[in-house]
Amino acid sequence: MTRRSLTKALSAFLLCFAVSFSTTPAHASSFEEEATSFVRTLAEQAIGELTDKSVPREQRIALFREFFTTHFAVDGIGKWILGRHWRKASDTEREEYLLLFEDLMVVSYVDRFAAYAGEPLIVVKTLTQNENNATVFAEIEQPGGAPPVHVDWRVARKGAMYKIVDVIVEGTSMSSTLRSDFGSTIRQRGGKISGLLTALREKTASLRAAAN
Protein backbone atom coordinates (compact mmCIF):
# COMPACT_ATOMS: atom_id res chain seq x y z
CA MET A 1 0.00 0.00 0.00
CA THR A 2 1.43 3.35 -1.02
CA ARG A 3 1.53 6.31 1.30
CA ARG A 4 -1.07 8.13 -0.75
CA SER A 5 -3.65 5.39 -0.65
CA LEU A 6 -3.01 4.92 3.03
CA THR A 7 -3.69 8.57 3.86
CA LYS A 8 -6.72 8.37 1.59
CA ALA A 9 -8.09 5.34 3.38
CA LEU A 10 -7.40 7.01 6.68
CA SER A 11 -9.10 10.29 5.79
CA ALA A 12 -12.08 8.40 4.34
CA PHE A 13 -12.36 6.48 7.57
CA LEU A 14 -12.11 9.64 9.64
CA LEU A 15 -14.77 11.34 7.51
CA CYS A 16 -17.21 8.44 7.97
CA PHE A 17 -16.51 8.51 11.63
CA ALA A 18 -17.07 12.26 11.80
CA VAL A 19 -20.31 12.02 9.80
CA SER A 20 -21.78 9.16 11.81
CA PHE A 21 -20.61 10.63 15.06
CA SER A 22 -21.91 14.14 14.48
CA THR A 23 -25.34 12.99 13.32
CA THR A 24 -26.16 10.29 15.83
CA PRO A 25 -29.00 11.52 18.04
CA ALA A 26 -31.07 9.33 20.39
CA HIS A 27 -32.96 7.85 17.44
CA ALA A 28 -31.31 6.60 14.26
CA SER A 29 -30.59 9.54 11.94
CA SER A 30 -32.21 9.47 8.54
CA PHE A 31 -30.46 9.24 5.19
CA GLU A 32 -31.64 12.79 4.46
CA GLU A 33 -29.88 14.18 7.52
CA GLU A 34 -26.71 12.24 6.83
CA ALA A 35 -26.55 13.36 3.21
CA THR A 36 -27.06 16.96 4.35
CA SER A 37 -24.33 16.83 6.95
CA PHE A 38 -22.01 15.08 4.47
CA VAL A 39 -22.33 18.04 2.08
CA ARG A 40 -22.00 20.58 4.92
CA THR A 41 -18.84 18.91 6.17
CA LEU A 42 -17.42 18.88 2.63
CA ALA A 43 -18.12 22.58 2.15
CA GLU A 44 -16.47 23.45 5.46
CA GLN A 45 -13.48 21.31 4.64
CA ALA A 46 -13.17 22.86 1.16
CA ILE A 47 -13.33 26.41 2.57
CA GLY A 48 -10.87 25.52 5.31
CA GLU A 49 -8.24 23.72 3.25
CA LEU A 50 -8.49 24.59 -0.41
CA THR A 51 -8.95 28.35 -0.65
CA ASP A 52 -5.64 29.46 0.84
CA LYS A 53 -3.81 31.20 -2.00
CA SER A 54 -0.57 31.43 -0.02
CA VAL A 55 -0.12 27.64 -0.31
CA PRO A 56 2.10 26.81 -3.33
CA ARG A 57 0.15 25.53 -6.34
CA GLU A 58 1.78 22.08 -6.38
CA GLN A 59 0.72 21.58 -2.79
CA ARG A 60 -2.79 22.85 -3.49
CA ILE A 61 -3.01 20.35 -6.36
CA ALA A 62 -2.06 17.52 -4.00
CA LEU A 63 -4.56 18.68 -1.36
CA PHE A 64 -7.33 19.03 -3.91
CA ARG A 65 -6.60 15.60 -5.43
CA GLU A 66 -6.91 14.10 -1.96
CA PHE A 67 -10.19 15.92 -1.36
CA PHE A 68 -11.62 15.07 -4.78
CA THR A 69 -10.74 11.36 -4.82
CA THR A 70 -11.96 10.89 -1.25
CA HIS A 71 -15.35 12.53 -1.56
CA PHE A 72 -16.28 12.14 -5.23
CA ALA A 73 -17.10 8.85 -6.94
CA VAL A 74 -14.31 9.51 -9.44
CA ASP A 75 -14.34 6.08 -11.12
CA GLY A 76 -18.14 5.89 -11.19
CA ILE A 77 -18.42 9.38 -12.73
CA GLY A 78 -15.60 8.65 -15.19
CA LYS A 79 -17.28 5.47 -16.40
CA TRP A 80 -20.71 7.10 -16.66
CA ILE A 81 -19.28 9.98 -18.72
CA LEU A 82 -17.80 7.52 -21.20
CA GLY A 83 -21.12 5.64 -21.45
CA ARG A 84 -21.20 3.12 -24.29
CA HIS A 85 -17.61 3.91 -25.22
CA TRP A 86 -16.50 2.30 -21.94
CA ARG A 87 -17.46 -1.15 -23.20
CA LYS A 88 -15.42 -0.74 -26.38
CA ALA A 89 -12.29 0.41 -24.56
CA SER A 90 -9.44 -1.98 -23.79
CA ASP A 91 -8.21 -2.50 -20.22
CA THR A 92 -5.15 -0.32 -20.80
CA GLU A 93 -7.31 2.43 -22.32
CA ARG A 94 -9.72 2.26 -19.38
CA GLU A 95 -6.94 2.52 -16.87
CA GLU A 96 -5.31 5.47 -18.59
CA TYR A 97 -8.67 7.15 -19.12
CA LEU A 98 -9.60 7.05 -15.42
CA LEU A 99 -6.22 8.46 -14.43
CA LEU A 100 -6.41 11.24 -17.05
CA PHE A 101 -9.99 12.02 -16.05
CA GLU A 102 -8.92 12.44 -12.43
CA ASP A 103 -6.01 14.63 -13.56
CA LEU A 104 -8.26 16.82 -15.71
CA MET A 105 -10.69 17.39 -12.85
CA VAL A 106 -7.90 18.18 -10.41
CA VAL A 107 -6.00 20.64 -12.61
CA SER A 108 -9.18 22.36 -13.85
CA TYR A 109 -10.84 22.82 -10.47
CA VAL A 110 -7.87 23.53 -8.21
CA ASP A 111 -7.59 27.17 -9.30
CA ARG A 112 -11.34 27.72 -9.12
CA PHE A 113 -11.20 26.79 -5.45
CA ALA A 114 -8.28 29.14 -4.90
CA ALA A 115 -10.26 31.99 -6.51
CA TYR A 116 -13.27 31.17 -4.34
CA ALA A 117 -13.51 33.72 -1.54
CA GLY A 118 -15.26 31.33 0.84
CA GLU A 119 -18.84 32.59 0.67
CA PRO A 120 -20.89 30.26 2.86
CA LEU A 121 -22.94 27.40 1.45
CA ILE A 122 -26.52 27.37 2.69
CA VAL A 123 -28.44 24.11 2.50
CA VAL A 124 -32.01 24.82 1.39
CA LYS A 125 -33.45 21.29 1.46
CA THR A 126 -32.56 17.66 0.89
CA LEU A 127 -34.66 15.19 -1.08
CA THR A 128 -34.06 11.45 -1.32
CA GLN A 129 -34.61 9.78 -4.70
CA ASN A 130 -34.34 6.24 -3.35
CA GLU A 131 -32.68 4.51 -0.41
CA ASN A 132 -29.18 5.24 -1.71
CA ASN A 133 -29.49 8.50 -3.68
CA ALA A 134 -30.23 11.96 -2.37
CA THR A 135 -29.99 15.53 -3.65
CA VAL A 136 -28.86 18.32 -1.36
CA PHE A 137 -30.11 21.68 -2.69
CA ALA A 138 -27.83 24.52 -1.65
CA GLU A 139 -27.15 28.18 -2.37
CA ILE A 140 -23.84 29.98 -2.39
CA GLU A 141 -23.96 33.69 -1.60
CA GLN A 142 -22.41 36.11 -4.11
CA PRO A 143 -20.41 39.26 -3.39
CA GLY A 144 -22.06 42.67 -3.83
CA GLY A 145 -25.60 41.43 -3.16
CA ALA A 146 -25.94 39.54 -6.43
CA PRO A 147 -28.48 36.70 -6.36
CA PRO A 148 -27.07 33.47 -4.84
CA VAL A 149 -25.95 30.63 -7.12
CA HIS A 150 -27.96 27.41 -6.87
CA VAL A 151 -25.76 24.36 -6.46
CA ASP A 152 -27.32 20.91 -6.06
CA TRP A 153 -25.24 17.97 -4.87
CA ARG A 154 -26.19 14.45 -5.91
CA VAL A 155 -25.09 12.20 -3.09
CA ALA A 156 -24.91 8.38 -3.25
CA ARG A 157 -24.23 6.05 -0.36
CA LYS A 158 -23.04 2.53 -0.09
CA GLY A 159 -23.07 1.15 3.39
CA ALA A 160 -21.60 3.87 5.59
CA MET A 161 -19.76 5.55 2.69
CA TYR A 162 -21.00 8.72 1.07
CA LYS A 163 -19.82 10.10 -2.26
CA ILE A 164 -20.76 12.95 -4.55
CA VAL A 165 -21.82 11.59 -7.94
CA ASP A 166 -22.82 14.87 -9.61
CA VAL A 167 -22.85 18.62 -9.01
CA ILE A 168 -25.58 20.68 -10.65
CA VAL A 169 -24.89 24.42 -10.94
CA GLU A 170 -27.91 26.50 -11.98
CA GLY A 171 -29.45 23.45 -13.61
CA THR A 172 -26.31 22.37 -15.44
CA SER A 173 -24.89 19.00 -14.45
CA MET A 174 -21.13 18.62 -14.28
CA SER A 175 -21.33 14.94 -15.27
CA SER A 176 -23.72 15.52 -18.20
CA THR A 177 -21.61 18.40 -19.49
CA LEU A 178 -18.45 16.29 -19.44
CA ARG A 179 -20.33 13.44 -21.10
CA SER A 180 -21.22 15.72 -24.04
CA ASP A 181 -17.72 17.17 -24.14
CA PHE A 182 -15.96 13.78 -24.17
CA GLY A 183 -18.55 12.15 -26.46
CA SER A 184 -18.15 14.91 -29.02
CA THR A 185 -14.35 14.72 -28.77
CA ILE A 186 -14.49 10.99 -29.55
CA ARG A 187 -16.75 11.65 -32.56
CA GLN A 188 -14.48 14.43 -33.80
CA ARG A 189 -11.50 12.11 -33.58
CA GLY A 190 -12.77 9.21 -35.65
CA GLY A 191 -14.93 7.53 -33.00
CA LYS A 192 -11.89 6.19 -31.21
CA ILE A 193 -11.15 6.22 -27.48
CA SER A 194 -7.49 6.75 -28.34
CA GLY A 195 -8.44 10.15 -29.81
CA LEU A 196 -10.02 11.15 -26.50
CA LEU A 197 -6.94 9.97 -24.59
CA THR A 198 -4.69 12.10 -26.81
CA ALA A 199 -6.93 15.14 -26.24
CA LEU A 200 -6.96 14.50 -22.48
CA ARG A 201 -3.17 14.14 -22.36
CA GLU A 202 -2.70 17.43 -24.23
CA LYS A 203 -5.30 19.26 -22.12
CA THR A 204 -4.03 18.14 -18.73
CA ALA A 205 -0.43 18.93 -19.72
CA SER A 206 -1.36 22.44 -20.89
CA LEU A 207 -3.49 23.13 -17.80
CA ARG A 208 -0.73 21.97 -15.53
CA ALA A 209 1.80 24.19 -17.29
CA ALA A 210 -0.27 27.27 -18.09
CA ALA A 211 -1.79 28.16 -14.73
CA ASN A 212 -0.13 30.96 -12.77
Binding site: K8, W86, Q129, G144, G145, P147, T177, S180, K203
Partner: protein
Protein backbone atom coordinates in the same frame (compact mmCIF):
# COMPACT_ATOMS: atom_id res chain seq x y z
CA UNK B 1 -22.49 25.68 -37.03
CA UNK B 2 -18.88 25.36 -35.87
CA UNK B 3 -17.89 28.06 -38.37
CA UNK B 4 -20.50 30.46 -36.94
CA UNK B 5 -19.29 29.56 -33.45
CA UNK B 6 -15.71 30.40 -34.44
CA UNK B 7 -16.93 33.71 -35.90
CA UNK B 8 -18.87 34.55 -32.70
CA UNK B 9 -15.85 33.61 -30.61
CA UNK B 10 -13.65 35.97 -32.60
CA UNK B 11 -16.18 38.77 -32.13
CA UNK B 12 -16.25 38.00 -28.43
CA UNK B 13 -12.46 38.10 -28.14
CA UNK B 14 -12.23 41.39 -30.05
CA UNK B 15 -15.20 43.28 -28.59
CA UNK B 16 -17.29 41.76 -25.81
CA UNK B 17 -14.64 40.09 -23.66
CA UNK B 18 -12.36 43.17 -23.46
CA UNK B 19 -15.40 45.40 -22.82
CA UNK B 20 -16.64 43.10 -20.04
CA UNK B 21 -13.15 43.00 -18.57
CA UNK B 22 -12.93 46.80 -18.41
CA UNK B 23 -16.49 46.98 -17.06
CA UNK B 24 -15.53 44.59 -14.25
CA UNK B 25 -12.39 46.56 -13.44
CA UNK B 26 -14.01 49.99 -13.49
CA UNK B 27 -17.44 49.36 -11.95
CA UNK B 28 -17.48 47.77 -8.47
CA UNK B 29 -19.62 44.70 -7.61
CA UNK B 30 -22.44 46.79 -6.16
CA UNK B 31 -22.66 49.02 -9.22
CA UNK B 32 -22.82 46.05 -11.58
CA UNK B 33 -25.51 44.41 -9.45
CA UNK B 34 -27.51 47.67 -9.65
CA UNK B 35 -27.24 47.69 -13.46
CA UNK B 36 -28.25 44.02 -13.53
CA UNK B 37 -31.30 44.79 -11.38
CA UNK B 38 -32.25 47.74 -13.59
CA UNK B 39 -32.08 45.59 -16.75
CA UNK B 40 -34.10 42.84 -15.05
CA UNK B 41 -36.76 45.39 -14.12
CA UNK B 42 -37.00 46.48 -17.76
CA UNK B 43 -37.91 42.89 -18.67
CA UNK B 44 -41.04 42.97 -16.49
CA UNK B 45 -43.64 43.31 -19.29
CA UNK B 46 -42.18 40.39 -21.28
CA UNK B 47 -42.03 38.18 -18.16
CA UNK B 48 -45.57 39.19 -17.19
CA UNK B 49 -47.06 38.39 -20.63
CA UNK B 50 -45.30 35.05 -20.81
CA UNK B 51 -46.26 34.01 -17.28
CA UNK B 52 -49.89 34.73 -18.24
CA UNK B 53 -49.54 32.80 -21.52
CA UNK B 54 -48.13 29.86 -19.53
CA UNK B 55 -51.12 30.00 -17.19
CA UNK B 56 -48.81 30.85 -14.28
CA UNK B 57 -50.92 33.65 -12.79
CA UNK B 58 -49.14 33.47 -9.47
CA UNK B 59 -45.83 34.32 -11.13
CA UNK B 60 -47.50 36.98 -13.28
CA UNK B 61 -48.82 38.68 -10.14
CA UNK B 62 -45.48 38.38 -8.38
CA UNK B 63 -43.74 39.90 -11.42
CA UNK B 64 -46.20 42.81 -11.33
CA UNK B 65 -45.66 43.27 -7.58
CA UNK B 66 -41.89 43.16 -8.11
CA UNK B 67 -42.17 45.91 -10.73
CA UNK B 68 -44.23 48.16 -8.45
CA UNK B 69 -41.92 47.66 -5.47
CA UNK B 70 -38.64 47.92 -7.37
CA UNK B 71 -39.60 50.89 -9.54
CA UNK B 72 -40.59 52.89 -6.44
CA UNK B 73 -38.80 51.64 -3.31
CA UNK B 74 -36.06 50.11 -5.44
CA UNK B 75 -35.37 53.48 -7.14
CA UNK B 76 -36.24 52.81 -10.81
CA UNK B 77 -35.26 49.18 -10.40
CA UNK B 78 -31.62 49.69 -9.44
CA UNK B 79 -32.25 47.94 -6.15
CA UNK B 80 -34.03 44.58 -6.03
CA UNK B 81 -36.06 45.41 -2.92
CA UNK B 82 -38.69 42.83 -3.90
CA UNK B 83 -36.16 39.99 -3.70
CA UNK B 84 -35.25 41.16 -0.20
CA UNK B 85 -38.95 40.80 0.63
CA UNK B 86 -38.92 37.21 -0.67
CA UNK B 87 -40.22 37.86 -4.19
CA UNK B 88 -37.37 36.59 -6.27
CA UNK B 89 -36.68 37.32 -9.93
CA UNK B 90 -37.48 34.57 -12.36
CA UNK B 91 -37.26 35.12 -16.08
CA UNK B 92 -39.89 33.93 -18.54
CA UNK B 93 -39.74 34.34 -22.31
CA UNK B 94 -41.74 33.20 -25.34
CA UNK B 95 -39.29 30.36 -26.04
CA UNK B 96 -40.18 28.96 -22.61
CA UNK B 97 -43.88 29.60 -23.28
CA UNK B 98 -43.69 27.55 -26.50
CA UNK B 99 -41.98 24.76 -24.52
CA UNK B 100 -44.77 24.84 -21.93
CA UNK B 101 -47.18 24.56 -24.89
CA UNK B 102 -45.31 21.35 -25.83
CA UNK B 103 -43.60 22.64 -28.97
CA UNK B 104 -40.38 20.63 -29.55
CA UNK B 105 -37.13 22.62 -29.45
CA UNK B 106 -35.90 21.43 -32.86
CA UNK B 107 -32.23 21.21 -33.82
CA UNK B 108 -29.54 23.21 -32.06
CA UNK B 109 -28.47 26.24 -34.07
CA UNK B 110 -25.71 28.80 -33.66
CA UNK B 111 -26.93 32.24 -34.67
CA UNK B 112 -24.38 34.84 -35.82
CA UNK B 113 -23.77 37.41 -33.02
CA UNK B 114 -26.79 36.19 -31.00
CA UNK B 115 -25.19 32.84 -30.13
CA UNK B 116 -26.70 29.45 -29.21
CA UNK B 117 -30.37 28.85 -30.00
CA UNK B 118 -32.91 26.52 -31.59
CA UNK B 119 -35.94 27.20 -33.80
CA UNK B 120 -38.25 27.39 -30.77
CA UNK B 121 -36.07 29.94 -28.98
CA UNK B 122 -35.43 31.90 -32.20
CA UNK B 123 -39.20 32.32 -32.68
CA UNK B 124 -39.40 33.24 -28.99
CA UNK B 125 -36.86 36.02 -29.41
CA UNK B 126 -38.80 37.59 -32.30
CA UNK B 127 -42.13 37.43 -30.43
CA UNK B 128 -40.60 38.85 -27.23
CA UNK B 129 -39.12 41.72 -29.24
CA UNK B 130 -42.48 42.52 -30.83
CA UNK B 131 -44.49 42.46 -27.59
CA UNK B 132 -41.95 44.41 -25.52
CA UNK B 133 -43.48 47.86 -24.76
CA UNK B 134 -39.98 49.38 -24.56
CA UNK B 135 -39.33 48.44 -28.19
CA UNK B 136 -42.77 49.67 -29.27
CA UNK B 137 -42.15 52.98 -27.50
CA UNK B 138 -38.68 53.33 -29.03
CA UNK B 139 -40.09 52.64 -32.50
CA UNK B 140 -42.92 55.16 -32.19
CA UNK B 141 -41.00 57.95 -30.49
CA UNK B 142 -37.97 57.78 -32.82
CA UNK B 143 -35.68 56.93 -29.94
CA UNK B 144 -33.19 55.07 -32.10
CA UNK B 145 -30.66 54.84 -29.28
CA UNK B 146 -32.87 52.93 -26.85
CA UNK B 147 -32.97 49.44 -28.35
CA UNK B 148 -29.26 49.12 -29.24
CA UNK B 149 -28.26 50.60 -25.87
CA UNK B 150 -30.42 48.12 -23.99
CA UNK B 151 -29.21 45.18 -26.13
CA UNK B 152 -25.57 46.20 -25.61
CA UNK B 153 -26.08 46.62 -21.87
CA UNK B 154 -27.74 43.19 -21.66
CA UNK B 155 -24.82 41.60 -23.50
CA UNK B 156 -22.24 43.36 -21.33
CA UNK B 157 -24.11 42.45 -18.13
CA UNK B 158 -24.34 38.77 -19.13
CA UNK B 159 -20.70 38.56 -20.24
CA UNK B 160 -19.38 40.24 -17.06
CA UNK B 161 -21.63 38.14 -14.80
CA UNK B 162 -20.30 34.90 -16.31
CA UNK B 163 -16.76 36.11 -17.01
CA UNK B 164 -14.89 33.61 -14.82
CA UNK B 165 -17.18 30.70 -15.67
CA UNK B 166 -16.71 31.24 -19.41
CA UNK B 167 -12.93 31.56 -19.02
CA UNK B 168 -12.80 28.33 -16.96
CA UNK B 169 -14.97 26.39 -19.40
CA UNK B 170 -13.03 27.55 -22.42
CA UNK B 171 -9.79 26.60 -20.72
CA UNK B 172 -10.75 23.19 -19.35
CA UNK B 173 -13.14 21.76 -21.96
CA UNK B 174 -11.84 19.50 -24.72
CA UNK B 175 -14.53 20.56 -27.18
CA UNK B 176 -15.76 24.05 -26.25
CA UNK B 177 -18.43 23.99 -28.96
CA UNK B 178 -19.97 20.78 -27.59
CA UNK B 179 -19.72 22.12 -24.02
CA UNK B 180 -21.57 25.34 -24.91
CA UNK B 181 -24.22 23.31 -26.77
CA UNK B 182 -25.00 21.05 -23.81
CA UNK B 183 -24.87 23.93 -21.32
CA UNK B 184 -27.34 25.90 -23.45
CA UNK B 185 -29.77 22.96 -23.57
CA UNK B 186 -29.44 22.25 -19.85
CA UNK B 187 -29.90 25.91 -18.89
CA UNK B 188 -32.98 26.25 -21.08
CA UNK B 189 -34.53 23.08 -19.62
CA UNK B 190 -33.85 24.41 -16.15
CA UNK B 191 -35.53 27.72 -17.04
CA UNK B 192 -38.50 25.93 -18.62
CA UNK B 193 -38.93 23.78 -15.48
CA UNK B 194 -38.46 26.87 -13.28
CA UNK B 195 -35.47 25.37 -11.52
CA UNK B 196 -37.02 22.08 -10.42
CA UNK B 197 -34.59 19.20 -10.72
CA UNK B 198 -35.98 16.06 -12.30
CA UNK B 199 -35.31 13.34 -9.67
CA UNK B 200 -35.56 10.54 -12.24
CA UNK B 201 -32.65 11.92 -14.28
CA UNK B 202 -29.77 9.48 -14.70
CA UNK B 203 -26.76 10.04 -12.42
CA UNK B 204 -23.46 8.20 -12.17
CA UNK B 205 -23.32 5.46 -9.58
CA UNK B 206 -20.60 4.93 -7.05
CA UNK B 207 -19.41 1.84 -8.89
CA UNK B 208 -18.58 -1.56 -7.54
CA UNK B 209 -15.84 -0.35 -5.27
CA UNK B 210 -16.35 2.39 -2.73
CA UNK B 211 -12.72 3.19 -2.10
CA UNK B 212 -10.44 4.73 -4.68
CA UNK B 213 -8.34 1.64 -5.11
CA UNK B 214 -6.56 0.75 -8.31
CA UNK B 215 -8.63 1.43 -11.39
CA UNK B 216 -7.66 -1.96 -12.78
CA UNK B 217 -9.65 -3.87 -10.19
CA UNK B 218 -12.65 -1.71 -10.94
CA UNK B 219 -12.22 -2.45 -14.61
CA UNK B 220 -12.08 -6.22 -14.17
CA UNK B 221 -15.28 -6.02 -12.14
CA UNK B 222 -16.95 -3.88 -14.77
CA UNK B 223 -16.23 -6.50 -17.39
Amino acid sequence: MRAVFAFNNTLDKVILEPAASIYRDVVPDKGRVAVHNFLNNLRTPVIFFNAVLQGDFEHALQTLARFLVNTTAGILGFNDTAAELGMEYRDEDFGQTLAVWNMPEGPYIMLPILGPSNPRDAIGRVVDFIIDPLNIWAGNADNDWAVPTRTGADALDFRALHFDTIADLEKSSLDFYATVRTLYRQRRNDEINNGTVDPTISVPSIGERMDDGPALEEISQAN
